[in-house]
Symmetry: D2
Subunit: 495 residues, 4 copies
Amino acid sequence: MGELSVSSAAFSAVPIHKPVKKQIQFVEDKQEFSRFPTKAGRRSLSRSISQSSTDSYSSAASYTDSSDDETSPRDKTQLNSKGTSDFCVKNIKQAEFGRREIEIAEQDMSALISLRKRAQGEKPLAGAKIVGCTHITAQTAVLIETLVALGAQCRWTACNIYSTQNEVAAALSEIGVAVFAWKGESEDDFWWCIDKCVNMEGWQPNMILDDGGDLTHWVYKKYPNVFKKIRGIVEESVTGVHRLYQLSKAGKLCVPAMNVNDSVTKQKFDNLYCCRESILDGLKRTTDVMFGGKQVVVCGYGEVGKGCTAALKAMGSIVYVTEIDPICALQACMDGFRVVKLNEVIRQVDVIITCTGNKNVVTRDQLDRMKNGSIVCNMGHSNTEIDVASLRTPELTWERVRSQVDHVIWPDGKRVILLAEGRLLNLSCSTVPTFVLSITATTQALALIELYNAPEGRYKQDVYLLPKKMGDASVVIYTPSPTRNRGLMAAFTQN
Amino acid sequence: MGELSVSSAAFSAVPIHKPVKKQIQFVEDKQEFSRFPTKAGRRSLSRSISQSSTDSYSSAASYTDSSDDETSPRDKTQLNSKGTSDFCVKNIKQAEFGRREIEIAEQDMSALISLRKRAQGEKPLAGAKIVGCTHITAQTAVLIETLVALGAQCRWTACNIYSTQNEVAAALSEIGVAVFAWKGESEDDFWWCIDKCVNMEGWQPNMILDDGGDLTHWVYKKYPNVFKKIRGIVEESVTGVHRLYQLSKAGKLCVPAMNVNDSVTKQKFDNLYCCRESILDGLKRTTDVMFGGKQVVVCGYGEVGKGCTAALKAMGSIVYVTEIDPICALQACMDGFRVVKLNEVIRQVDVIITCTGNKNVVTRDQLDRMKNGSIVCNMGHSNTEIDVASLRTPELTWERVRSQVDHVIWPDGKRVILLAEGRLLNLSCSTVPTFVLSITATTQALALIELYNAPEGRYKQDVYLLPKKMGDASVVIYTPSPTRNRGLMAAFTQN
Amino acid sequence: MGELSVSSAAFSAVPIHKPVKKQIQFVEDKQEFSRFPTKAGRRSLSRSISQSSTDSYSSAASYTDSSDDETSPRDKTQLNSKGTSDFCVKNIKQAEFGRREIEIAEQDMSALISLRKRAQGEKPLAGAKIVGCTHITAQTAVLIETLVALGAQCRWTACNIYSTQNEVAAALSEIGVAVFAWKGESEDDFWWCIDKCVNMEGWQPNMILDDGGDLTHWVYKKYPNVFKKIRGIVEESVTGVHRLYQLSKAGKLCVPAMNVNDSVTKQKFDNLYCCRESILDGLKRTTDVMFGGKQVVVCGYGEVGKGCTAALKAMGSIVYVTEIDPICALQACMDGFRVVKLNEVIRQVDVIITCTGNKNVVTRDQLDRMKNGSIVCNMGHSNTEIDVASLRTPELTWERVRSQVDHVIWPDGKRVILLAEGRLLNLSCSTVPTFVLSITATTQALALIELYNAPEGRYKQDVYLLPKKMGDASVVIYTPSPTRNRGLMAAFTQN
Amino acid sequence: MGELSVSSAAFSAVPIHKPVKKQIQFVEDKQEFSRFPTKAGRRSLSRSISQSSTDSYSSAASYTDSSDDETSPRDKTQLNSKGTSDFCVKNIKQAEFGRREIEIAEQDMSALISLRKRAQGEKPLAGAKIVGCTHITAQTAVLIETLVALGAQCRWTACNIYSTQNEVAAALSEIGVAVFAWKGESEDDFWWCIDKCVNMEGWQPNMILDDGGDLTHWVYKKYPNVFKKIRGIVEESVTGVHRLYQLSKAGKLCVPAMNVNDSVTKQKFDNLYCCRESILDGLKRTTDVMFGGKQVVVCGYGEVGKGCTAALKAMGSIVYVTEIDPICALQACMDGFRVVKLNEVIRQVDVIITCTGNKNVVTRDQLDRMKNGSIVCNMGHSNTEIDVASLRTPELTWERVRSQVDHVIWPDGKRVILLAEGRLLNLSCSTVPTFVLSITATTQALALIELYNAPEGRYKQDVYLLPKKMGDASVVIYTPSPTRNRGLMAAFTQN
């Protein structure tokens, strides 16, 4: 796979606020990788966004991992308690730990549990053979076990070499799901695992669930014949969807595909609702700053900016907004925020938060004028909004004071607190609530059901959006919790 | 008026939350006037929605009106102080009062004033001969005087037989604008006024500004040749826009037209921002109810519902939402509102507010179960959301306790307080802030400038939306006030 | 009235945000009436604060009044439908109108209605002969009728020469309460009415309910022997309470008195909760201003300031606070408001609201620097916070554009919009919600019950605060509505 | 000191929401200690509240600690870089790490830094010999270094055997402050350290700064003569203040003492402002729960309850309140919360938060009825609000799923998520913002200055509250940051 290249810098191409991230990049992305050569290597890798985004789920794992031997899972033979060995995980003995994490996750994924219960009788996925490539976390496990409950057979691999929760992989393997994934795979491991999922004697997948497009890519390259049996692809990521549209344009898409990334609900959740909570969480965990009375400028008043400003305003911060789009600016204004140019407030603010999706929103010149002790962080796109590179000059001293927290010190002693080196704060220093992941996972399950059961001809060899109302079942997606908000469910069936 | 195609169907299409309303009622609507015969006559007419929507602007007018003679303006000859008589208004002597109202309005229409200043030098409307048919209020006067300042000649008439502020019409006539309009026109007067605007010897319009389509309709019917010189039509209302699209479909539209109704900004303002304020204003003016601690159910969580709930929540009400669209329901839920079925809370709520756009959202059965002293009102569509007709039965007693406030009394003494007989509360019992009208008026002015100055061929014989960015000038639309929010202006020119 | 010790000093002590106001003006205040001679006479009088504060309740009254003859009620003989003539009101025939207003008021006075029901069986006021002197409004009528329902006999007069709702007075008289009051009493009438209440052959009061202390004062001066039978005085106003404490200090208080003005609840309601709503209402009714996006400075962050800022922030205004008390300033800061000096923002704000309780918070110099179209108003103390006097100079033009709204015009054309001539906006241009008045009225009723039924010796000749818990009954005070918030009631009896 | 007893259960006696905690308990508290004997031992100790409350500050420390040898500091001889050995800390080599933590803390303690600058010239503590016994954290270090900057000599020890940040203690020792403290002291160590602070040849303290009263107690017992030179005691904790009042009552207090615990500011910060932030932080760090759309019941509507409800409402939760005090209940109601009995909502809520200050607010019976996956936690008093003991029965399974997070599992599989075993969530699972600690620390510094400089006779042998205005200096307390909120400072000097 010489044409492939892995690097942490690849993150710069990832979508705004996508909580889960693909990592393997193909040739055409390569030029991005050498951008910050000095930051490569082990340390840079271990600070990858994806790992951070799942850190909190895997706290249990971290200590078990540390006591693990260094043998590659590929070199071990493990059996689950039923005597099966059709899986490859770090340590099958961690299954019990993993089960606990899955149970925790189930608590806040009632939409999926509800779907499980509703569709369990009719087994709408009976006969489905799903090969999946996603992050392997407790939340994904709830999805996989739901698919199994609905009748599917599943083989699963990881879409990211760092994000696997080993104990969850073990728990899935323990109940008989063929999982091939562990935390810290090499690039070679990565493709080996994918191959093991697809290339199974006597078992041929008829559905693909992909996150990033690597699995789809692999099947295209290696096993094009498999597509003859495939009823559809469900793709969750921006990157993967982008690839599918390219295939479609090129006339090479040979099965229907469902784009579950671009639903209104997902967008609202990943941006507005999620960021409203994670801006507070991210700032608090890294700096313990008190929000009340602080002056904050939020750059950009899109969905992310709206979430951030709402949260900080509610906590008693004095919030300014910068915005160049006149309609968004007017919204900010009508929502009670002073719309300013960054330069007007740069000397007085305590916190700068970027969420514009643009580059160099905060320049070195502006960083020079920030006051001592002020915090700068990014909730927007990639790691380009703050000109962090400009801070890597000899006259400035960097002090890593905590994980994800650097003090950049000016010659006169002024410190600016830079979070996550300008990468996405919400991914680096906060967690994605299970409930949000539940929205995505339920959508994925519904998309699989829809594609698998669609009468022939309903879907062509094209990329589709999930229909807003997909029979009775679809309302489940939008239900935070049937028991939690009884009225909501009722409302849906009101007419 | 047999040659007119205007019908009640057009009327039932009237937009939700359009602050200004067309009023000519045709045969099948006539019964509305006679519906409550005891309340008929002059007084009943003077309680029309449109009048109410402008009541607050014309408080001065009301007393001058009362002292007016009953002679029809058409039978009077009046001269303004310059000796001109090319106008027809109630009483030219009210000009001074009107000037004052215009000056008040100017205070909160800085976008228009700003446009006036910016474009005054270049006179972008030099040579424009605009015939207009809109509500004639202080805010419209600021628009008209802006058009004049930019170089246009204007002839103007009213789009509604009740909504004219007589003293404003006088003030415009006094400075030489040819206004033909007064409050309380007959239907015959209405068309006579339109005709006087268009049919002027030695003066032929080259631009039309319409609100409702009656003027356009008249020109089509009576003076089709005029269209040879017309460079474009600017239409502001849903009804008028609807008619234009119909003409366009039928291939009968012979000039370009600009739809200024469907801009994002206008929608946000007419619904979210406006209703956020007018729900409080409307309830307070009619009932003096204290919001704190009251239980309120808001039916519908679209833009209007979002505005109403946000305002009431902020005032300390306990707010429930009913919603049948799952995405809107989820938004309500994530915004902290309990989503319920109306029946779950009908017995306990103090206030019901409908904003669904549907019919019979509150049924007689539900009204029967409301508690004593509860308030029911409509912020949504037309007057159909509350089944008011079902309350007009012998066993229930109606008491008109104040203007726009009825107590409907059940046999057991229970009272339900019905506002505006179920018509739109925001139009009947509140006012549209000048600032909101300013948004619309500025858009209209920009659309006129754009159409008048467009190079030939840019616009075909079709209906267009105003381009989001229309050169430098367009940002003016979105500026609440250059001096008010200095930063905002700056932000627009940031890049 | 040389024998009266009442003076303007007592008047200047008038409470901040007391919704009801005493009005008898004595010698040294008389100049107030002649201060603006052009505005004097009937009209100026009819613009009194108190009238305004009750305007909305008496809309029905206003037109009936206008058709009234000019005969003084003292010169008329009227009989109610039962043939009684022991009352003196404007027109007994308005009783039916008044009954309607009372019924409206009852809708939002459930605490009182609840007390009525709970205590009706035991008649805790059986034998009580109460003489009362309060504003006579629909809300007071609900109180009086509650007292009657609990067993009391009542004679009533007005504490203010302008605030009486004639039709309510008629309605009370119609059911047999001896009311002596009408709107527009002369000073002589005022004392005549009080005397008629007290000085009744064969009927001697044993309880006093006073608002302002005039009734108490009259009994002291004219009928000191009456105090032998009086079991207690309940006083509601700051002024009256002040007088009682003075009597007490001087050793002249000869019966127990209950201060119902200084309860926590009353303070919270009159200030925080009430102003939170009335600032929006007052601004909207007078100026129709849109709140969203406006820059507002609130001077003072006490309870009133907290209410005003919370409301405006919620409506999307950008709010600044000035505050000299460090703890209040810190609270403002932690609540998310920029604490500034007025001069820092004077040139940019759209609205100034004073609520400091101090004098000359906004000076002429600052008014000179306000921008065109800005609004200035007072929610704080009396009419002294804005230096209105400084605006009455020849170079400035005043234009009364609406009731309670003046444009003050600078030589360069700049207009500043002054509301209520700097008097209290909430009293002049808004209404006090019935629910708030219900809190006070219920407290008064409970205080009467407590004093009337107290075992001898429990209360000395001193001024008391109502005990926080007064047996079971007291919780009623604090209950917005038993049915409205079922849980609340439950909570009170939880332990 | 056989009469002393240390146990983690001692926390149950600590004050509500005091961010810093004393730990050594005297005889009369002993019975508390044996309450949960099964949970004693190393693990229980290492989960002490105090440790948790400072965890986030000492993340750096944790890994250095782990590599440390096990030798007791008392058995080591260490020299700082100046060759001094008058201190006893874990490892002087950690000084550099500690300096970094102190520098971070300084960023948000501008009030103290400002005091340092303002009073540095006049050295108001010149000649002061202060012996201190507090938590030893980065924030305390900023206080100590401020005292030194103002002229004082300081000897310091820890008031808690677990809360010392070793590297901070090292950093202080490095600059010459005599610190005797380390994390994980034995009880014997604890008193040995105190003794080393007080009992120094040639150095006698003249001021005491105490937190919990242990230092004061020790001086009373061992060195009563020292009080002859002591000018005053400054005490910060509820417990310590309580002891001082007891001494005062008993006539045994022989110097003036300043109670810095009961200032308005401190109360507001420790409760309202702090809890508004820490409820979100504590829930998020432990459970990653999404707040939006969740149903939450908050028991108690005091300052803590007000903070919790405001935060959760702002994050989109649906919040209910239980409250037995009628005035607080009414406030909740007017703030827009449904006031309910816990039993009314127990089956539907997702989260229960107690902040009543009472015992057994949530009973086993209620826990039995909570739904699967719901969270229960305590922000109120001690660990008594939730009847945790009732959950320690054989039929229920406890699973420790993360630090501070237990799943309590019912026989039917239902899980309730119990946080911090019912102890204070804000102390156990969140951090106290530096800014809040800054408020306290500045108050302590001002109290020391005041007592040290007071003219003889101003303060008797009694317990005093800090005067609200203490000359110019006091405003510093209330200033979040001079540069942060420039206007605030200005406001203070406005008059």
